[in-house]
Subunit: 347 residues, 4 copies
């Protein structure tokens, strides 16, 4: 690898231009080429970045020995094929979330990365968000106490997708953040939702995850809401924290609130509502942190924070959630398929 990581970006739709801009600006990388099937999408790229070569055939990028890594921002159902091709061509890969549309595909990608010895990273941007990292720090240092539950609101008006539902669109954010914060995998997953605009595509989903520690995480995911809300409340046995991604200031607040030992006669005295503290959070764009993390992972060979294993866990949760949705909201054991697949009797 040359001193500067030379990146090819595959997919210039909604998200691709953000990847281009960030690898363009990141110290240590440059965007060498961009591929997209649509000439219309390449036109503004060509205008804005005259020095970047553009192509409608991603195989030109994979065949170019001067390109070290690819960033893939294409529809989910193409992830497996593109990742496998890119890894086989010796490229390091950053692929958008979710890693794949099925756990089986995600596992195949992870295996391909292991075979190739190249870096595989999934674009779970929020785990690189400074406010999310700040909450992780609070939890790690034990400031909140044992985590009891997390409640999340992730809603806005649109954008509807046509090939997958809101669980697969917005859910990867909540799942990746929650697994990062709790540092454990769920025991069960439950999901209920409604299809109001398109038949058979949920535009509203309530997702619940139960964890071995006893923690519960719940998320309201919706494409049908009057405003954009991005809040996650973390209730610990000692303190509580709130993370609001929409506000410009005080993105993280820590509440020195809690419940002491409850005694019927002393009920009101059992509540402690103390100071509220809002730690300063750097305003760095999460995608820039992510891009630098990828560059660093490639350079050092260290496993990235959101590597293939993390991406696979998220897909497993979403897959279990989909099954729960179909089954009317029953709890689905997380990892059940894995066990079935691994069991000899499954043959």
């Amino acid at each position: 690898m040359s001193e500067t990581l030379r990146v090819g970006v595959i997919g210039a739709g909604y998200w691709g231009p953000n990847l281009i801009r960030n690898f363009h600006e990141a110290p240590g990388s440059e965007v060498a080429a961009v591929a997209d099937l649509s000439a219309e999408r390449l036109t503004p790229i060509r205008k804005r970045y005259p020095a970047v070569s553009v192509t409608s055939d991603h195989r030109e990028i994979l065949a170019d020995p001067a390109i070290d890594a690819v960033a893939i921002a294409t529809p989910i159902n193409t992830h497996r094929r593109l990742c496998e091709e890119a890894l086989a061509a010796g490229k390091h890969v950053l692929v958008e979330k979710p890693l794949a549309g099925t756990a089986a595909d995600a596992e195949a990608i992870v295996r391909a990365a292991e075979r190739s010895g190249r870096t595989l990273m999934v674009g779970h941007t929020f785990v690189y968000n400074p406010a999310v990292s700040a909450v992780r720090g609070l939890i790690e240092r034990g400031e909140l106490g044992k985590i009891q539950y997390i409640d999340s609101q992730r809603v806005n008006l649109g954008l509807h997708q046509f090939d997958f539902n809101v669980l697969w669109d917005l859910g990867p954010h909540d799942v990746s953040i929650t697994l990062y914060w709790l540092d454990e995998e769920p025991t069960w997953v439950q999901a209920t939702g409604g299809c109001f605009v398109q038949a058979d595509i949920e535009d509203v989903v309530w997702l619940t995850m139960g964890f071995p520690s006893g923690a519960i995480a719940h998320a309201h995911l919706s494409w049908l809401a009057p405003g954009k809300i991005r809040t996650m409340t973390v209730v610990g046995a000692k303190k509580m924290a709130a993370y609001d991604d929409v506000t410009a200031v005080e993105k993280v607040k820590v509440f020195d609130h809690g419940v002491e030992r409850l005694e019927p006669d002393e009920l009101r005295r059992a509540y402690r509502a103390g100071d509220i503290h809002s730690p300063r959070v750097p305003v760095t764009e999460a995608l820039q942190v992510e891009a630098r993390h990828f560059i660093d992972a490639v350079r050092t060979g260290k496993a990235p924070l959101s590597g293939g294993a993390a991406g696979l866990r998220v897909v497993r949760v979403l897959e279990a959630g989909s099954r729960s949705l179909r089954l009317g909201g029953v709890r689905v054991a997380y990892g059940a398929e894995r066990e079935r697949a691994a069991a000899p009797s499954a043959k």
Copy 2:
């Protein structure tokens, strides 16, 4: 009945003093007597209302022919007995929500009211809240279009109860408001929750109701939250509304937002985000509206908005929710018990 409705209040704990104050202030009623087992609770009543007689024995109130009606604000498990006694004594009854702790008890109370010919009303205060009424008006007039879903946040720090969980404490509000708005009974009920402070008493519950119209209502109920939130979002096919009970102004907002016909190539054009309108809502205290509604129902013999049937429906939802909680969140058919009870084989 005398020209002024003479009311006896049974129970002077957390809520009773609010009833006393409101019947004291309402034109057309006066508080004649207050009963509570605790002398300590009667002391401040006596100080504040020297003209009101107080007693530790509610039967004195029931035996007093000069008292027309009783307002009952006692623990849930006493509702059936007290209501039955009061109705048998010929008193009109306003009883706090929920009407009872089981559907069987609630049904018994409703039957007792029918036998007595007296007014039975349940204290579902929120259906008398001017902002709730304003949203009901929007729905009735079709301004929001077909209702797709309702999402509610009803959380705060405490007050924990010792004999029942947050579903029975905060849930009656969401259920009564939702049934009032949608004007239909649910098909199924689902609930998931966690017990973090007391064993076996859920302090967090996520409640979901599915309706024949296709609407879904979801509520986050919690005694463990950093702040007090009371918001309900109503998403209709034409417009959306948000009701915030905590804010002093703009309690109701109507968003002229929606999704038009979706076409893959025109996705972004399909979203309509228009004006936001906040109708003025009178600032009358809901409990005062409720007190006057009760006085009027007694006087005219008209069925109150939150009569026995409405109270019974709420208890049935809560009972189904409790069963879902015990069963790990499966959907429980609303009214299943009723059908079982009515079936010949049930004998």
Copy 3:
């Protein structure tokens, strides 16, 4: 004085009932009698407090030897006469703000109190507000550094007064809080405003005060505003604080923000935006704190926080502000009249 301070309240209009309620509830006092010229105003008092005697003649209260103190909540132009009568009758006096409508009247009241040896306290309620006290604590402990400026917004729709302007209606709050926080008297006062609803009665005033320390305080006072705003921002050389009296939570916020040494080439590095901290502030009603403070001052003979001298300073600022208003906003020296009055040549 008996063990319980027996208080007579003179004036049962807008504010009087609040005084009655608070002295009724405060430990150590009871309301013995209420006087008002209007029988209509006395009726609800009589209904709510049957044990309190009511009268249309305040002299009955002053003549009653069983009454220790009076609380005066009457029009400003009656303050001097009522205070002088009450003090002459040996009563301790709590009088509503502003102490008087002219500095001359205020001085006369202060002298009357000195002659009588009785306690004189002015109802500058905000200096007993826990949030205001919290900010005072921050300033006293030097946490904000040298105070540079205070900006205040105190606006709402109505209530217009007919006999005095918004400067005399809302201004006493800002002036009393500011003098309490800065602990100094202004050098000059400046005021500009407009009369939009009533001729010659300003409904909007911008008031500015300059202090010997170099601090400047500015207040926007208005009866013509779309909403109720009560915010005061205190900018110190080290930190900044914001006090919002309307919000239910986080009434006080401390911002660890500031400007370091400015160098042209390092401009952006000179700004420090750090954590934001919101200390828990007790939710006690300020008027209850004030009532207890008055009871304590009478009992111990200690000078109250808002005694006659403090009340007089506020009146002097308002009087200087009025002169500035008439003179088109020029700076008026604070205390100039005092000096003129004291000068031999003034005779």
Copy 4:
């Protein structure tokens, strides 16, 4: 002029890159060249726009016959010279606000534009802000009634300037918006402020303007504030409006609030607090609107909304404000200099 307006940008400091980006993206214009004395500032321009020629000598731009117009974003004290040179060279000119540092300089620029017959436009970006236009529409259509007063908050932490004060830095926004809304010139100007960080450079200023219609406009301008506030409240005799430039939604709110005829006995009934309406405002970037307006003005020869006369009026207000600051806040007649300058007897 060629079909596409070819623009040269002079000054690539804080604001210049925004002008470059907007003329680059606007249909009908292209950035042909950029001049800046600092090579360091030109480097990122060269990297991002390889097709744009860069130079340290603005005269190269003025001498280039292929360039139709220049956009000037340099220190204020260079505006006169650069504008005169550019107009003399036959270029159309867009110059940043304020037009000049003195009314004399501003007048000279206006005269130079008249002589040249070229378009002169001042970059008062806010008058092209869709929210500001929406409020102007409300006023023009009479929806608010006669405007009584405008109160503005325009504060944040930094950025301090070294060569002029906050009045000249933030004040042009409030003054240009206010003159645009009220469509009249003030009668008098008044300003008070403080210098807390740098000697003799006000970092806080309160500016007041009185208008012939009776309206008053007041602005709090500060570089020393804990947060960024950009709110303007417009109080009309019929309705009130609030414009908040910081919020992402509901930037404009119209309050159907007002005061009816006041009668002492009916005081409370005199207030009307009605619905609140938030019209949808397009999210177009104001600078893009401004760029297109300039292109259109050049193309059609029509006078721009913020032409030389508008820019001169703003400078006259600021100059009067500066004099008031020096004189301790007395009212300074707007236009007094003009009259003095014009009067023969002034010699």
